[in-house]
Symmetry: C2
């Protein structure tokens, strides 16, 4: 019989591993769901597209590391972010052993620091037209998209991709972009209405149509009374 595994657990005898975070930064720009990617400015794999990532410091919470990396790139501070999962194949990065934990962030284009983004050679790509990516980053994106689709149906997560005031056509386009399918306008509105957490404002947005669409805002308090969010 093998020796009890715990023997390996004697502290300080254990191999340590480089741990990274990779951030999937989603934005909803001009009606498209987009992802912010960077062109690597260092070897190996210089000039290839990659998710934005960084290493986890020893005294730093994993979640904090992800926020730090996001802030360094975008200047954004207060962003909705969730862990997706850890990617840990021994050879996923062929140059060095790195375990990477991915995070999915939803950001508002207008809020982030454009200068910063440009200085990193970062670019937005529509989610259905991504360039080739290094390592297992495509797999990370697939996992995050799957998760986003699930989350967005069961909670008011998508609202993080819209400004405080938004129109129903915008909201619908956002859902269509995330889910990758068309939604019936009347059914969509009926559902939103029944959940009763949108506040209709006395203002119209006329930038996207001649008629103009009423602006709404999200009522966080009321949302808490909604038992089953379900779109």
């Amino acid at each position: 019989m093998q020796k009890p595994f715990q023997i390996n657990r004697a502290y300080k005898e254990v191999q340590q591993i480089t741990v990274a975070v990779d951030c999937l930064i989603f934005g909803f720009n001009d009606g498209n769901l987009e992802l912010l990617l960077v062109s690597r400015s260092f070897e190996p794999e210089r000039d290839r597209w990659s998710l934005i990532g960084g290493f986890v410091h020893n005294d730093e919470d994993l979640d904090d590391a992800a926020h730090r990396v996001l802030t360094e790139l975008t200047g954004l501070d207060d962003v909705y972010m969730e862990q997706v999962r850890a990617f840990g194949k021994a050879k996923r990065d062929p140059y060095e052993r790195v375990i990477s934990v991915t995070y999915s962030a939803l950001v508002l284009k207008k809020d982030y620091n454009d200068e910063l983004v440009k200085s990193y050679k970062a670019e937005w790509f529509p989610i259905d037209n991504l360039p080739e990516l290094i390592f297992d980053h495509k797999e990370m994106i697939d996992a995050a998209m799957k998760r986003l689709r699930r989350r967005v149906k069961s909670g008011p997560v998508g609202f993080n991709l819209l400004p405080e005031k938004f129109t129903l056509p915008q909201l619908q386009k956002l859902y269509e972009a995330i889910l990758g399918e068309e939604i019936d306008k009347r059914n969509f509105r009926k559902k939103l209405n029944s959940m009763d957490f949108l506040i209709k404002l006395n203002e119209k947005d006329k930038t996207e149509s001649k008629k103009g669409a009423y602006l709404y805002k999200f009522d966080e308090d009321k949302y808490n009374y909604v038992k089953n969010f379900n779109i």
Copy 2:
């Protein structure tokens, strides 16, 4: 403006961190959903209950590390296992910085090596009557349970907790144990029937009732034709 983050990415200048896997080993024993826990045989926190865990080796896939740890404890080889997520608070283990990736495993009591389990001072606990656990292990369990509940409704995952041949009352009890709620017998069977991936055998199991219940097995091929598994 800060320097580009990539500067930190120069390989070999980066802090390394101890990475562990912790396994949530679920079993369905005597009608209860149970979790296998070990009493720590080493300091710190000796004799307190914990998930079974181990450290990730440098040349080892994360998933493989989880399987290795599971095999060391149970002798089981071919087990359904999924990553839950990474837990990475800097102080989650107060003795040393350890990032832990949790995995959820569904095992069959009859298959595992009882001797091995005993030699580790491991014990099964019903999921609704767990002892106090070290560190953030309770939080890990909560996350894994939430995930299990979701997964079991949307795919034939629960079948990994039953032997190859099982009765419908057993299957129902399993779902009730996982979901923590009673299910109507007729509705449950109706749903299973409509999805058409169970094969009724010409055998009865008489160990659990006088009348005896028909045995069924799961038809993996047919499952692939089921578009929407949904219980």
